[in-house]
Amino acid sequence: MVELVPTLLRQELERLAADNQRIDGRGQWDSRNVSLEVDCLYNAEGSAKVVWGDTIIYAGVKFEIRTPWPDRPTQGSLMCGAELRPVAHRKYEPGPPSPQSIELGRVVDRGIRESGCIDMEKLCIVPGEKVWGVMIDIHVLSDGGNIFDAAGLAAIAALRTAVVPAERFDVGEDHRLLVNGSPIMASFTRAGGRFVYDPSEEEELGGDERIHITLGDEGHLHSLQKGLRGVFTPSEFAEILAVAEQKCTELREMVAEKEGN
């Protein structure tokens, strides 16, 4: 990718940071507007649309019936993938999955998987023969910054409102997918030398490393990821972790509201 170093943007972000300001007027730990819509797509057994500032992401859940792995005969499976297709931004090119899209999918996947919110044993239909495979696909339509948090939010909301299509597969009655808890991601980018929450597109372009934190309902860490060039200190991490706890709680409530039960 051609990426001219945005020197002027960097300088501007530093100037703003020195005044404790951000380029779009937000405070250091403020979020942009977030809206969440669920059950919005025909054919997906669970779906969610997140509009987060200028970022728009859909997530869709599909089910299949699989033969379980021989060493785990009573366990279903979960798969989460993401595509950063050229629709989402001028900078994305067609071709095989980029490292960026692989990282996005795997970080969201780990947050959900490691939180234990999907009990793989509950996905068993006939031990050793038939289990459910749950597949979440994240489709980024517009990248306006902080796609990780938006993708994580869309994924858990689509999962929590998904209906297992048992009737279509002749294995019982349709029922809500059982999801225990809502792992939520909070992401921080170093912009102007300090970390900010929910980076905008410009802060990502003129910033340095990112840290993605996924927290479960109890405030436990389930996934961490540091991306891009840059280093940080343990005390910086402690500070953003405290912010993440608050942000994740707020977003978890937003998901709960949409479930309508």
Partner: protein, 242 residues
């Protein structure tokens, strides 16, 4: 076309299973300017189909070998989201989507004033979020609105519509069941002002009389959708930049 004789698709009153008459479209709604990151965009809902199109450019065409000295190339990607169909689709291009991308690009090159932008490229991304038969046509309509939203000059709009045949009867705008169990499908891309055709495919079985009737339905539907396209762009201009 599946063409199974044993599935009833027309009711005793001559109407279709969802209550439509033979020459009645599914409901269509169109919104322009839906994606902040794109230069132009549109979302079209047609029945239960949902298609989003984004336009980027004109921009430098690279690699060099795709450049044309006298005009812009239009680079179309038609893609079905993994969750857009009954069974999940594995991400990545397949033969069907490559063919649709090719003929859609050629149809759009027939209406865009590509001579205005020599050596450049216009990217058109068509994403099908939900599929209920007729997605290639819905994608063409969305692409045309997105091109207009991006301010790309065109000699006319292009409207994607389809007719087909079920139970030996020509009908407008097949839905999922009609597509699965019907006898023919005729998707076309119509220039609403000139009455010319820029996109044409067909499969199944149609006599020449049936073909002519199906085309008549298609022209009628194109006029109706064209009104909605113009309306969406008007609303977009009134709303202003995002």
């Amino acid at each position: 076309m599946g063409g199974y004789g044993d599935v009833k698709l027309l009711r005793d009153d001559g109407k279709r299973l969802d209550g439509r008459t033979v020459d009645e479209m599914r409901p269509v709604s169109i919104e322009a300017g839906v994606l902040p990151a794109a230069d132009g965009s549109a979302m079209v809902t047609h029945g239960l189909n949902v298609a989003v199109a984004a336009v980027y450019g004109p921009m430098e065409a690279h690699p060099r070998k795709i450049q044309r000295q006298d005009r812009a190339v239009i680079d179309v990607r038609y893609n079905m989201a993994p969750f857009s169909t009954g069974d999940r689709i594995r991400p990545g291009f397949n033969r069907r989507s490559r063919e649709i991308s090719k003929v859609t690009a050629e149809a759009l090159e027939s209406v865009v004033l590509v001579e205005r932008y020599p050596r450049s490229k216009i990217r058109v991304e068509i994403e099908i979020l939900a599929a209920e038969a007729g997605t290639r046509c819905v994608g063409i309509t969305a692409a045309a609105v997105a091109l207009a939203d991006a301010g790309i000059p065109m000699r006319d709009m292009i409207v994607g519509v389809a007719s087909g045949k079920i139970e030996d009867t020509v009908v407008l705008d097949l839905d999922k069941a009609e597509d699965n169990y019907g006898q023919a499908d005729l998707p076309v891309g119509i220039l609403p002002n000139t009455g010319e055709i820029a996109f044409l495919q067909m499969d199944g079985d149609l006599s020449i009389e049936e073909f002519n009737l199906a085309m008549e339905y298609n022209f009628k539907a194109a006029s109706e959708i064209h009104v909605l396209m113009v309306d969406a762009l008007k609303r977009r201009y009134e709303r202003g930049d995002n």
